[in-house]
Symmetry: C2
């Protein structure tokens, strides 16, 4: 699985962009805020301005390299777009995030959009609950 080529998606291959992309690809945490990315880069000695992190993540989103989520509150969460589409189930206690795909839900969504006269662009489905670990800690 080699790195995506920035030029292929219409972005100049600048140092900050390469650092951010590399970090997203190598991180084992899949879901991160812009601040998370900024801090993680800082800690690994790779300085990139916070404004640049925001700009680059937004550009990556437009280019289809990352997906932006609005899980709960105020801020955006980014995820590398390296697999097929999926939805999320989140633990409200520990913040754990799991992914899933359900063809039944996918096709029902398309049907609903059709019924309502909408052309469907996208969708967001988040299930909130308590994961098995946190249920036990109860």
């Amino acid at each position: 699985m080699e790195s995506k080529d920035l030029k292929q998606v219409g972005l100049k291959a600048t140092i900050p962009r390469l650092k951010i992309l590399k970090f997203l690809e190598e991180s084992d945490v899949r879901h991160m805020s812009a601040e998370d990315v900024y801090k993680a880069l800082l800690e690994s000695g790779e300085e990139v301005g916070l404004a640049t992190v925001y700009r680059v993540l937004t550009q990556f989103e437009s280019a289809g390299l990352v997906a932006r989520h609005h899980f709960e509150g105020d801020h955006s969460i980014f995820e590398l777009n390296d697999s097929e589409h999926h939805d999320h189930i989140l633990c409200v206690k520990c913040g754990r995030v799991d992914e899933f795909v359900d063809e039944v839900i996918e096709s029902r969504q398309a049907a609903i959009a059709r019924e309502k006269g909408y052309s469907m662009d996208d969708h967001a489905l988040y299930i909130f609950g308590v994961c098995s670990d946190c249920q036990q800690k109860k």
Copy 2:
């Protein structure tokens, strides 16, 4: 359809809370930001501080009187909880919001939570698209 009783949900019946609840019940717009509520009250001569609007809406959410949504961006959207659960389909052009309920999706969600070992608290499903009106204006 008489007003919900604030005391029944453990909230003192203060003037600002009554004004906000009444406004939510009588408005024909169902989905509003805190700022929207604040401004609408101002315009109808009912002054309530913005901080109070935020506080009260949050309390109403905790009490189950309103639902909070994170449709797209940064800010919360509130909706009076006067009907049964439903999900939303939004027009990305004009901001129109329609509601729907789909039993198939509901039960698949519950099944997925079960499969993943989660106890399900809640879920959010937003379909984004272009409504029929906006498709024509194209």
